[in-house]
Subunit: 439 residues, 2 copies
């Protein structure tokens, strides 16, 4: 039952930062492997055989194969947290359990959802997309019509402008990564580029914006600069291979890779080209916070470079000193993630994390770093850079620019503030419990 | 209601092969877009407004947000076909509906499943993985123990050696892409490399193979050459971000990227290092067909380069002459897909398809080509090359090498033959219906 060796020790590899943090090079020492050790337990070969008694589930025929698979009953806790589980007449949020999943994207059942008037139960054979306004030829597209166009697939993150709002709070709230960061997810979308359809309709030279409108009861609409339509905007039909689920816009949504979640209009029924923005509810009000100098943070659409650690994080207590993997996700509207640094001492010293290939633009990139916890207090942080040279600001820098907006919530419907992309700090206590702190 | 123009015509782009087939360069003409035209219908701007009457689902509060999302009720037909829906005491197959999904991987609910004795209902807190045999230190790993090790994520296809068995039939069977090719799927797996764990156990120099065994009632086991363990074999814990579902091996499976599906042992409980293979049921019998010259096709593990067209395909009838996108998937155990050619005249002439980025090794690559159907008979085919220089053989080449094995089925449990990687030919009739033919 005792561990005999550790690759890290054997290779003589030294930590790259304080408090036992190794850097990405550790993954390349000793060949393909970096053993973190102390987790498997040693037994004799005869004892090994004793481990292989048949458990009850090995002694009979198991459950039947399903036409549409679902997770094990032991995973029922891996679910979205609902802000409004009884569907009272207000917005419903469902947040992604980042600390309970892994990999580089979010399965559809767990992708975040925000619905202001519930999820419309749309009959796809009756649904139409109208493109009109400042075009040469207004066109109507059924789902069958769209199916014949050239399609593209791309991985992209989607983040609510109000994600991580808890971190604007003057005091750190005791929330999980799901509660704090659960309004960002990542998926592969397949559909028709909006530019393909605009080749069909033609574009009136006076057009500078387009307004996208949903078929939900609130007819949610947002204004989008036309250049995004000619870049990478997509009419998304499939998410992670299958039809988009109702909470995410079935049968089609607008996808604006890297831009504020609310703009990626779900249940899309109309695109109107215009010469000016609509000044709709969500752009003139909710996503236009007033800044300390009296100016407004408006028509700012990019979800800027950001990262957070998912493992360890609150709810995932450490089970004793020894080696662990620190991992999390990083993403930026400005392209690929170029670098992620991690700290185990609250930002005093840093080591470079390994980035999981392939690193794709405007998509989650999972980072990983090995860490030997000595059993004492530690504060874990990550900081990401994107290929455009942007870096996550400190929390103090954000507060000084935008104000501690959570002190003046303007409406029960509005997030106190938006676009938090500073660091997240997880404190590891001597008991192995992880808590949210400001460091 | 009439279409005014077509980008293909406007750009003067000529087909690259007979029967109206364009090549990948068509996607780059005219900027970002290639309009296939004739599918949206033109209306006046005033008529456009009339399209925007509120449908019933826009007039009230919709459905509540779910803790774990599921597809729209209108998508209930997008499901695995079950070979044994009443779970009688024999093997159960669930096949992926390739013609009803899109993108580059398979959602978990629709990933193919083969279970010989049902899906064991494993309690993850009681499950253990034992690594023993020709090692220096036998070790036992719980799920908690594995969670501390460095992990990797990778996209990989998984294919049953018996996939596409219908194409060995002397006469073409009238099946869909799901029925013929539904035993291949693609997903992102996250877990611990087996090589990482073998660094912990150490390897006795006499070890040349390992035997992997599952915790299902049949204790399914396969022998794997040790070099695969030191290359990219993984103990997979997550599939597409969430825990592997029961049908695919919850809580852990062996993943051997590119190798015969049956070897990727599900419900993994044991890895024993040995100096020779086990000669287990599935390697000595099912996956060892006798060849026409009396030799055996045994211990051949690679799922070689292959492709098939998913759109159009049987069940997806064409709705009149005009432009369509032909798309499908290609994959190879020998690395990345290098090229896919498509034909609309049964292999007489070919055009190069566009490959969806990122092209990843041992993973699905979606290919796409624009096609203008003139309304007459056509036979669609695809042919893929991998980066190692391999190309799909013709069906005649395969038959001459391996025999038309379907004439001598050896057991109700065994596929008549395995490892079909020749072409699939879809005939488009003048009525737009698509059928399976040999061409």
């Amino acid at each position: 039952m005792t561990k005999k060796h550790s690759i890290l020790d054997r290779e003589g590899l030294k930590p790259a930062a304080a408090n036992g943090l190794f850097d990405r090079r550790a993954f390349f020492k000793g060949g393909a492997a970096l053993a973190t050790a102390m987790t498997g337990y040693t037994i004799g070969n005869s004892a090994a055989a004793q481990q292989l008694v048949d458990d009850p589930w090995s002694r009979g025929i198991g459950n039947r194969v399903q036409a549409y698979g679902t997770p094990s009953r032991f995973e029922s806790g891996v679910a979205r947290i609902l802000s409004n589980p009884n569907a009272e007449p207000r917005t419903q949020h469902g947040r992604t359990p980042h600390h309970l999943i892994n990999g580089t994207f979010t399965p559809n059942g767990l992708h975040f959802v925000i619905s202001h008037t519930g999820n419309p139960d749309i009959d796809p054979s009756a649904h139409k997309l109208v493109i009109h306004g400042l075009v040469e030829r207004p066109l109507v597209f059924t789902l069958d019509a769209l199916a014949r166009y050239p399609m593209v697939s791309r991985m992209t993150f989607l983040e609510c402008g109000g994600n991580s709002a808890a971190l604007w709070s003057p005091e750190p709230l005791q929330n999980t990564a799901q509660e704090i960061h659960g309004l960002v997810s990542c998926a592969e979308y397949t559909g028709v580029l909006l530019s393909t359809l605009l080749e069909e309709t033609g574009i009136d030279p006076r057009a500078k914006w387009f307004i996208a409108e949903g078929a939900d009861a609130s007819a949610l609409h947002r204004s989008v600069p036309l250049h995004k339509a000619l870049d990478d905007a997509m009419i998304a039909l499939y998410q992670n291979g299958e039809r988009i689920m109702p909470g995410n816009g079935y049968p089609m949504r607008l996808l604006l890779p890297g831009w504020e979640g609310n703009m990626n209009v779900k249940w899309l029924r109309r695109i109107e080209l215009t010469d000016e923005p609509a000044l709709g509810f969500y752009e003139a009000r909710t996503y236009t916070p007033i800044l300390p100098d009296g100016s407004a943070y408006s028509y700012y659409f990019l979800q800027e470079v950001k990262s957070f650690i998912t493992h360890p994080s609150p709810g995932l207590a450490l089970s004793g000193a020894g080696l662990y993997e620190i991992s999390g996700v990083a993403y930026s509207a400005n392209g690929r993630i170029a670098r992620v640094m991690v700290s185990a001492d609250g930002g005093q010293s840093w080591a470079e994390a390994a980035l999981q290939d392939p690193v794709l633009p405007k998509a989650f990139t999972r980072f990983r770093a090995p860490w030997r916890w000595d059993g004492g207090p530690a504060v874990l942080q990550s900081r990401a850079w994107d290929e455009a040279g942007n870096v996550q600001p400190t929390r103090a820098e954000l507060i000084s620019r935008r104000g501690e907006a959570s002190r003046v919530p303007r409406s029960p419907f509005a997030f106190p503030s938006q676009h938090y992309n500073g660091p997240t700090s997880w404190r590891v206590g001597e008991d192995g419990e992880v808590t949210n702190v400001y460091a």
